[in-house]
Symmetry: C2
Subunit: 305 residues, 2 copies
Amino acid sequence: MPADEPARAAVLGVDWGTTHRRAYLLDGDGACVREVVDAEGMLAAQGRFEASLATLLAALGVEASIPVLMSGMVGSAQGWVEVPYLDVAKVGLRLARLRDHLVAVPGGPRRIAIVPGVRLCRGERVDVMRGEETQLLGAALLGHADGWFVLPGTHSKWAQLRGGAIVDFATYLTGELYALLGREGTLAAAMGEGDAHDPAAFERGVGAAASGAALSNALFGVRAGVVGGAMRARDARSYLSGLLIGAEWHDLKRRCGGRWPARVTLIGEPDLAARHADAARFLGVALRGVDPRKAYLAALAALNA
Amino acid sequence: MPADEPARAAVLGVDWGTTHRRAYLLDGDGACVREVVDAEGMLAAQGRFEASLATLLAALGVEASIPVLMSGMVGSAQGWVEVPYLDVAKVGLRLARLRDHLVAVPGGPRRIAIVPGVRLCRGERVDVMRGEETQLLGAALLGHADGWFVLPGTHSKWAQLRGGAIVDFATYLTGELYALLGREGTLAAAMGEGDAHDPAAFERGVGAAASGAALSNALFGVRAGVVGGAMRARDARSYLSGLLIGAEWHDLKRRCGGRWPARVTLIGEPDLAARHADAARFLGVALRGVDPRKAYLAALAALNA
């Protein structure tokens, strides 16, 4: 960090999701000196968030008085403190504004604050995020402040930034549907178990998502393909993955007026990033990756400045 | 029945589905004299179909030598005998041809035959049905031989008939998705339990399905609507039902080149028929109902003639 900037206070950043928690300890110079990932997500910590955080601080060997900045589902109705969403208005929501809307957790002696999630209400369309706004702020701080972003996962998020402001976003139930349909029901019965990823089947799924047919029809196509002799059972999971990820991409094209954007920026872990990279290559769109850890740390430093 | 037609043999018709079995006993005049519905579906009867049928015949008090005509999943790879699909070719598949392709169950002293299911392979699109072809044959025999048909259920079928021939069809995972998403995962957690049907929320769901967004995005909208304060938790199930059924209807419009057909014919039980009637009214499409029992009996008499 440049010598002419004032020294920052040490801070603990906690990206507290539904099932997992990632904690990063920054020293007074803004350098990350410790990090922990554990399964103490919102569901596991429910009803005892304060004790759960105290255990984390003790494990890290830091003083209980250290400032803590949290983002994610910890700020939901099922979290520690319900933090109101910030709304994406017609002009968008400048991510730098997040810092002005941190909500302190009441009753504690320490400075503990939660980053607000973001809500979009546009016509009949309602969408929400908690945690991804912090990643997006970080990406913008790293110089990626415009265009379409994908943050893949259980609930995959697509967001459009313009000059560091969120102007649109949409969530897809991709990972959850993949897990549910792979575990029980008609599709699970038709698909081979624990099959290796098949790139060709994945691409066929991405291509099939372009048909414009309802996903509830395309999903039955996984079963129909297998029982109708057009698909090998061992390829069905890769095809399903392609279908669900392809639905996200073809929706992007629709949102962009029927044309592919020149580039999409992905913030995500390598395994899901690889699937999106396959889809982007197949569809002829450039995909740029941003390290989610670096994005988070950039956001944390800015929110603590 | 007209006196100049030859007397038909008595026959037992069995509509043998995945979870349920419906059996209809016709006398020599083609009149239905007994009927039984039980939970001895394909899954329950697996590995002992012959004994299961013998028990049914004994319960009905009919001779073991009576001809038996079966349709549905009993003819699948997991059924009694795997019966090859008949293909919908470019010119369609005349339903009257089903009679020429009955497959006898080998090894039995009785005349037991299975009606073949139907397969569609058109470009990348593959779809299959087993059982619905018999309902559609019956509807055609009752005078409904043209236009679009919906057979709602766990796997909802939409079929286009032209002069008594299937020319197109598509299956939707509607009922299965509704059950799965209502039982576990993010949507189940956001939705009230066992809520009464709310017609206004159902209509909003049908309307939301028109957006063209991927269903995986619209499904997350159920949760976003509730946590974002735009929907009451107790309305969410009705909205979800509208979204899934609406996706079928808006797909129909797409298949019809962006225009609603003048009329749709529904073959189904009253509960699901009522939902489709609501959707059709909201969308301004005339919906005509065909009694599935009457359709089945008409088909059975014709297949046995």
